[in-house]
Symmetry: none
Subunit: 137 residues, 4 copies
DNA sequence: GTGGTCTAGACCACT
DNA sequence: GTGGTCTAGACCACG
């Protein structure tokens, strides 16, 4: 798992961390049940404060994306990732709204915007994650 | 111009203000050259401090969306709104990326995502600005 | 006398006005003794407030660049323009200093800077003003 | 880093602050990567309000002259200072123009002006930065 | 301890 | 009356 942080970004580091891990799961680079580095290790690896990693993990756990076990450490949610809950859909709309508004203001047409979204979608998820159970012979 | 602010939101007020104004321009509710309320009036109207409004206006001016005339007031950019600059496209991608990643993680498929974006686009975007009167039979 | 004002500039209008008139005199487009438009006329011509023109004229008079007569109107200083007083030299240095500092910071070398200054000098003063008396045959 | 402010000056304090810091960088008294005082410390040191310092820092950051690290502090831009962009050259010309015009009006000749500029340049500019040790015989 | 945000209130320059 | 600047003081997010 490679983490790329921009220490000069205005985006808080713990948010960047969350985003990177979320993207890792979305891209199936991190698979359900797979272990994540301990808070201590990850903090040392990427050179940030323990609290920062801890905050990211805690929030990811709250969203149901990971599990934190006292002894076993941190693993990607093995019991089914959260789906398209109404809360998530609402949050998504609120996040998309200002981005789309500004795109319209700048004169972007719908097809241009859709193609940008599609490009990003395919870039992040190169191999469509096998939803449901894998065929286990 | 109706401004809806959520004082409980974690999104800073001045950002909410910017977003509302941007959306107003995108939707053609605010037209180029149209006057915006003075810093003081708007601040009084929406019940926030003058400096908060001032910050939003200043940033909108920096982005080229409005003009602040000395001692005359604030108007929506009449000299052509900024277009799809490379900087904007880059910013847009960086903003979209985590949203799309999380949508993928949640199991949303491409067509579902695209339809959400399209729905928002059409909701915000004005019907193609009918200059002049509509033909009323 | 053509006046070019930028109403969106952060430079106050009365300062822009002063600069334009100073440049006119420097370029000999306005000659000593020549009449300037009345406050009223100029204000109407360029579409600004009376007070604004008045302020510019008053300050130009204080610097000794023009004379304001109650009835005769406004004329470019006919009794010898102010020279290189110590006060002016000091002001000039204070104005140049931050510009030059920023140029150095940006990596501009001395010759590049000098050539910029020379270019501007020659552009403003195309025909060197005949200092002293003109040869009157 | 010594900051000299003129509280009586018509030049806003935050501009004076910016100028002093820019000059410090230009003179290599402040080197890329070097830390600047925190907003609060500097404000206390020079006896102005925290917001005034903050404004200066924010603008310097926007120009690319410093970096503001979240919760770490402020440092002189370590990733290469901005160069001679077209925007900067245009701004420089606009700033120089009225100064040069007034100098011409006052009867200053080209060589006199150039020597003033050169004097300032050499006064601000550091002796070419001897990287490493000087040869001490 | 750091910068980011917000409030409250004031004076000034500009038009 | 407008925005620009400055002060004073507060709370919060971040690390």
């Amino acid at each position: 798992m490679i983490i790329q942080l921009d220490m000069q970004s205005e985006v808080p580091i713990y948010i960047q961390l969350m985003n990177q891990i979320i993207e890792g799961i979305a891209a199936s680079r991190l698979k359900p049940g797979e272990a994540l580095p301990s808070v201590r290790h990850l903090a040392a690896d990427i050179g940030v404060n323990l609290h920062t990693v801890n905050k990211a993990y805690t929030l990811l756990k709250q969203e149901g994306y990971i599990q934190i076990h006292r002894q076993k450490g941190v693993v990607v949610q093995p019991d089914g990732l959260p789906g398209l809950t109404p809360e998530f859909m609402a949050k998504q709309l609120e996040q998309l709204r200002p981005i789309i508004a500004e795109s319209i203001l700048r004169g972007m047409n719908l097809s241009g915007l859709l193609s940008q979204v599609q490009k990003l979608y395919e870039q992040i998820s190169p191999s469509p994650p096998q939803s449901g159970k894998e065929p286990t012979p």
